[in-house]
């Protein structure tokens, strides 16, 4: 498979990148790691005449703490994020996703911004980041706006990002004491897989072991990473026990909108959502108790 003729524009700044994206719209995409985009071009799933490489914009790299938030620059690779000392304590559940994603050759190149902005339904970072109440920053010459991740996706490979905007960073709020999160995914092998189904859970427990806040987010079983608000709301005020988690699993299974494909049937995916919801909640609960 060869890449079709495509013009690569190497942007030296966000302004230049935004300008090129507007000028060549709609036959253009921003290029970061390229591990999804170049495959889409090679297979003909996507036809473009231009790519705007962001890879020379160094301000988009790196993981830091900013105003009590974890700031993950869009060009940060999955490997860099996984190894970041910033992923200690409350932020460590992000590693549930970075550890399992693809293979070293891909993780070394694929970026956090790409994993989010490509809006591929089975992407691993969006569910856990949504469970942790993350947002993304969209920058354009007109200004910057912060969009909560749960309202960033509007369909498979579709987001609210405008042509002139660039996703510059993800912001994850510092988890408060009593918060725990976890990401449970199922792949057909242990190594180098795409998620067949995945569930992320976030739980906030008070000192009496009562659930104060909860989020359940489904991956790979809907066009978008799906925040199941009814499942989270039903947990509030409850004890974090097996019965509560089982009931949540049933709600999550009902909320899933899986498709059948080469990796699994819709029915199988729905069953997985139940199992994975309980697993994610159990781990999130253990972590929440340890963090109090």
């Amino acid at each position: 498979m060869f890449l079709p003729q495509v013009q690569l524009h190497e942007a030296a700044s966000l302004d230049q990148a935004s300008d090129a994206l507007v000028r060549y719209a709609p036959h253009v995409r921003p290029l970061a790691g390229g591990t999804d985009l170049l495959v889409d071009l090679k297979t003909g799933r996507l036809r473009l005449e231009h790519l705007v490489s962001l890879n020379r914009i160094d301000s988009l790299r790196g993981v830091s703490e900013l105003d009590g938030c974890l700031r993950i620059g869009a060009l940060t690779t999955v490997t860099t994020l996984d190894r970041s000392p910033m992923l200690a304590h409350g932020f460590s559940p992000i590693r549930d996703a970075t550890r399992k994603m693809a293979a070293p050759q891909i993780r070394n190149v694929a970026t956090v911004g790409g994993n989010i902005a490509s809006a591929v339904p089975c992407a691993d970072l969006p569910p856990i980041l949504t469970a942790m109440k993350a947002s993304v920053v969209l920058w354009s010459p007109e200004g910057r706006r912060e969009v909560p991740l749960h309202s960033f996706f509007i369909g498979a490979r579709e987001t609210v990002r405008r042509d002139d905007e660039l996703l510059t960073e993800a912001l994850v709020p510092l988890p408060q004491p009593g918060f725990g999160a976890a990401y449970a995914r199922f792949g057909l092998r242990d190594g180098n897989t795409i998620a067949v189904a995945a569930v992320a859970a976030g739980l906030l427990l008070d000192g009496d072991d009562t659930i104060r806040d909860a989020r359940i987010v489904l991956g790979a079983v809907a066009p978008v990473p799906k925040l199941v608000e009814s499942a989270g709301a039903a947990l509030v005020g409850q004890r974090p026990d097996e019965d509560a988690f089982r009931a949540t699993a049933v709600t999550a299974m009902e909320a899933a909108e899986p498709i059948s494909d080469v990796r699994g049937s819709a029915d199988y995916r729905r069953e997985l959502v139940g199992v994975l919801t309980e697993r994610a909640l159990t781990t999130a609960c253990e972590r929440a108790r340890r963090s109090r």
């Binding site: 498979m1 890449l3 495509v6 190497e10 060549y24 293979a103 070293p104 050759q105 180098n192």
Partner: protein
């Protein structure tokens, strides 16, 4: 009217040697290595980042060269399987693959060795689990992996 760029300048280092050439804008690193530089040790397998046969090191990180645009390698350092040999001698990882029978058809071998090289550079005493993790992006259809893991394990320094 858009300008059509026929070829772009690329200056980078391959196996320690500085190179400067003109490449088509859509060329991948793999195509440039194989077609322009005739470094055919790096294999074309799937072309979509699944099999790892095209693995090379780019600035010290193992990557699939089929998914890297050559133009984006400007100023970077590439290490391919050809760069592992020194003074006409095979690299210890290559010797271990021969000794353990970790090669059958040989098509995945350069990629396997580059992934193993990246692992051992970062972690000279990997466990078996760490070796399997490091090689998870490299498919082999002949060996069943056991001999490959054994070959890499034989190089893991004592005291892991």
């Amino acid at each position: 009217m858009q300008e059509v760029v026929e070829k772009v300048e690329l200056a980078f280092t391959v196996n320690g040697e500085a190179m400067s050439l003109r490449v088509p804008p859509g060329a991948t690193l793999l195509e440039v290595l194989r077609e322009d530089l005739e470094l055919t040790g790096t294999k074309y397998g799937c072309g979509e980042g699944e099999c790892g046969a095209c693995s090379v090191l780019l600035d010290g990180r193992v990557v699939n060269s089929c998914l890297v645009l050559a133009q984006e390698c400007d100023g970077l350092e590439v290490l391919t399987i050809e760069g592992l040999r020194s003074n006409g001698q095979l690299h210890p990882i290559q010797k271990a693959f021969v000794e353990y029978g970790a090669i059958q058809c040989g098509f995945c071998t350069p990629g396997m060795i580059m992934a193993a090289y990246a692992l051992l550079e970062a972690n000279p005493s990997p466990s078996e689990e760490e070796i399997k993790r490091a090689l998870e992006g490299n498919l082999c259809r002949c060996t069943g992996y056991r001999k490959i893991v054994d070959a890499v394990l034989s190089l893991a320094r004592e005291g892991a």
